[in-house]
Symmetry: C2
Subunit: 345 residues, 2 copies
């Protein structure tokens, strides 16, 4: 029911994902009057799905605490996460309200042992392929231990997603010299180095422009800087696309050139298509939840389902649990990262 | 002597700036053996300049503390800033080591009354023209009072640069809802609102993608997030340019299209030319210092000189001092922002 378009995007999106992965089985949660006619338009999806009517849907502008009060135990968002908690589903995918989705996920699935704060990991297109960036908006601030956890979890996700044995991990900072940077980031770098983690290859500090270069497989940062970096990059991509469109329609020669080079432009558009890397992965919970962009279309939603499928098929949760147990167990718990989901734990 | 290319870029750059602003008078500091032959190649510049030989030049990789020890009182960087302190120059422009330039500037010029931390303000190309973003790398962390000062100083710079009476100012945050964001950012928003500053038009919170949209004239943030946002955006712009080049050379049809649309591509390149908005302005000191990108060419260095010229001609320092006196005087001093210039105050 979530996102800017609700089931009109989610249901055709699920149908598209099913074409690519015929072994998916869906449990669809939503308002029957609105969803069932849409499901009827996709007979294959209908055959591979169970539909569960829900009276309540979380609104996009609801505060997490309000969504929890109103939607707990009965909203489509809650019930889809609850299906993961109960083992009825392997992964929940939603285009809904991010804060509410995180709050309900934490409430319903609980944090993994030893994890203090969850993270949202995004997939970032780079010159070398794709990288994972976390946290892109679950928490503000993170201490060294939490950044260390993000490195472990991001590393596990990279192994699940990119099929590399020992992904490279960098800490986002403002300079590569050891002298610079936030105290937390410096301390996290030391922690990671000293832990000698054999599931990741610690690269050191990276800067903002290293993300797009694909310098490392996993970029670790706290949620404030991560969210701002992500949105600044998205803004720049849109800005350049706007300039390009304006330049290409200014003269008839440019327009003719555009027509001749159309296949190249199509390729470029496909390369920069934000729908292809849609899907923020909630890490650190006892279950996988994928957040699709609220404004995406069916193709984008299908990509978010694909991400969930890959995470399940490649055993993300087990990988994270094993790494955390190996490298984190026994470490003292502390830290004062601020929770972005409206005070709900 | 600074930057990746030293006087080979700075001297032709100064000559270019002089063509645009024939009333500039330069005092050039550097190594005579290297600089004088270059100055001789530009007779107009030579006529408008005084050259001062310096035995020492700050290296690009020197730590600020080391640069101060080695270069204080005698390096070209120190002496050019000292000329501003002594009133012999209106503005110092350098492509050198940023940390050393900031450390020497603080030492030589001292902070303005009531200012706890300086900021580096960058000029960011946007869909609407240009915006000012600060801090992009002078300090890590900033409390509410310091963000308030950044808003005042950025506002004064916008009035000097864009010739608007009451520039719009936004605080960079991770969400527009009042509930979200860092405590410092929320508190700064309240401070600015309550101060009823009549030299700026406070817009509220903005997000990373608002920078490129040009939502506000001035974007205020602390240096860690600001630096990462800037570099993430630069990285994305380079990434898209790389994709575009690759797409345009892939097929002969695309190459033909490129040739036909070349004027459009040239226009696009000009629009995205990072040299055109070169020049970080140090704010909060008793004198104006402009940091040019170290890797720029003569055209880019000339743009940094232009920024300095505009700042002087439009009375930036007086504007900032007046605003600070009006809105800041008497406010308690405190805060724990971390200094990025290697502990040197």
């Amino acid at each position: 029911m979530g996102g800017d378009f609700g089931p009109e995007v989610a249901i055709p999106g699920a149908a598209k994902a099913l074409e690519r992965h015929p072994d998916i089985r869906f449990v669809l949660y939503g308002d029957a009057a609105r969803c069932e006619p849409l499901i009827d338009q996709h007979p294959k999806l209908k055959a591979a799905s169970t539909f569960r009517h829900c009276d309540v849907a979380v609104a996009m502008d609801e505060k997490p605490s309000q969504a929890l009060r109103r939607g707990r135990g009965k909203s489509s968002m809650w019930l889809s996460i609850d299906a993961v908690a109960k083992g009825e589903a392997d992964v929940a995918v939603s285009a809904g309200n991010t804060g509410a989705l995180m709050a309900m996920s934490k409430f319903c699935l609980r944090m993994m042992a030893n994890i203090e704060r969850p993270a949202i990991a995004g997939i970032w297109p780079t010159l070398k392929g794709e990288s994972i960036v976390l946290d892109i908006g679950a928490t503000i601030g993170a201490d060294a231990n939490q950044l260390f956890d993000f490195a472990l979890m991001g590393g596990a996700m990279a192994r699940a997603l990119f099929e590399v044995d020992r992904p490279t991990v960098g800490l986002l900072n403002v300079g590569v010299e050891e002298i610079k940077g936030q105290e937390e980031v410096k301390a996290a770098g030391q922690l990671i180095r000293e832990a000698n983690v054999d599931t990741i290859d610690y690269y050191g500090f990276v800067e903002g422009d290293d993300i797009g270069k694909g310098t490392v497989d996993v970029v670790v940062t706290e949620g404030f800087a991560g969210n701002i970096a992500l949105k600044a990059a998205e803004g720049t991509a849109r800005q350049m696309a706007t300039y390009l469109r304006a330049a290409m329609s200014r003269t008839w020669l440019a327009r003719l050139g555009y027509i001749l080079a159309k296949s190249a432009f199509d390729r470029l558009r496909e390369k920069m298509d934000p729908r292809k890397v849609n899907g923020g992965v909630f890490l650190g919970l006892n279950g996988i939840v994928i957040k699709s962009h609220g404004g995406t279309d069916a193709e984008g939603f299908a990509a978010a389902v694909d991400v969930g499928y890959d995470m399940v098929r490649n055993g993300l949760k087990d990988k994270i649990e094993k790494d955390l147990q190996k490298y984190h167990a026994g470490r003292p718990v502390g830290g004062a990262a601020q929770d972005m989901s409206d005070g709900v734990r």
